[in-house]
């Protein structure tokens, strides 16, 4: 159980951090009604979101060691 939990912890840590950063960037970008805020949201936040979601989905199907 401990080994399994550690494996899950590792596989969720990176996507979790990416998603937290993406969500935080979206939060900050919405406080700022300027064109650069849109760029920040769309390119930086969007990339973090997509990477986080992709890694999470990959962790669901990847074989655990």
């Amino acid at each position: 159980m401990i080994i399994e939990a550690t494996g899950i912890a590792r596989s969720l840590r990176v996507p979790g951090i990416l998603l937290i950063l993406g969500l935080a960037i979206e939060f900050l970008s919405l406080l700022w009604a300027k064109p650069l805020a849109f760029i920040l949201f769309a390119f930086v936040g969007g990339a973090l979101f997509l990477a986080g979601i992709f890694l999470y989905l990959y962790s669901l199907i990847a074989p655990r060691s």
């Binding site: 159980m1 969720l12 840590r13 937290i20 979206e26 919405l30 760029i39 999470y56």
Partner: protein, 207 residues
């Protein structure tokens, strides 16, 4: 009673999403149970996707605001032209008399009232950002294409004040086909006219 705006609800959803992701990251053991796996699925997939689409919609709505367009330095003079105290200035007369939504003044006249016009306006907005930060801003700023009468007719066609004018009636086909331009054929030719801004009076709203 204050009802939360969609923007405020989005802030709440973002905070809830962040808290749920933090919980799963700090306590991954919760995913051992079926409910925990569902929580992780909600926190790592459903809520972020919802936040992403809702956030994009919120940003797109904000990009229509007059304040948003005027936040770039190069647009300041155009924003000021909306307050010129002279009814022959077409944008000023529309803005000051609320013939267009004051909060979306730029977007209302400069979007393209055709299929995908809003999408094209967003793409041009990205190009504007590129030019603002990485390119060379043209002086004076010019439209990409001549102003299309379609944008004027979107509101004026069918309006009594427009159709009761015999000149409009006589030239209607020519106006519709853009052979006669509303703003460059000598009829309504004072538009933003920012080059002449030093010599005009400005209107100050009461509030």
């Amino acid at each position: 009673m204050h009802l939360p705006t969609p923007g405020e609800l989005l802030y709440v959803l973002l905070l809830i999403s962040i808290v749920l992701v933090v919980i799963v990251v700090l306590r991954p053991g919760v995913t051992n149970s079926r409910e925990g796996k569902m929580l992780a699925f909600l926190a790592f997939l459903i809520l972020p996707v919802l936040c992403m689409f809702w956030g994009a919609s919120e940003h797109i709505d904000r990009s229509k605001q007059t304040q948003f367009c005027l936040s770039c330095h190069v647009m300041e003079a155009y924003g000021k032209s909306l307050y010129v105290d002279d009814p022959s200035y077409v944008p000023a007369a529309h803005f000051q008399n609320h013939r267009i939504p004051v909060d979306e003044a730029c977007y209302t006249c400069h979007t393209d009232y055709a299929m995908y016009g809003s999408f094209r306006a967003k793409m041009q907005g990205l190009q504007h950002i590129y030019v603002q930060y990485l390119g060379t801003i043209p002086n004076p700023v010019r439209l990409y294409t001549p102003y299309n009468n379609r944008e004027c007719l979107h509101c004026h066609l069918g309006a009594r004040s427009f159709e009761s004018n015999p000149i409009h009636v006589a030239l209607l086909d020519s106006i519709k086909s853009n052979q006669t331009s509303c703003i460059t054929s000598g009829c309504h030719d004072t538009v933003h006219n920012v080059a002449n801004q030093k010599n005009v009076k400005f209107w100050s709203p009461a509030q």
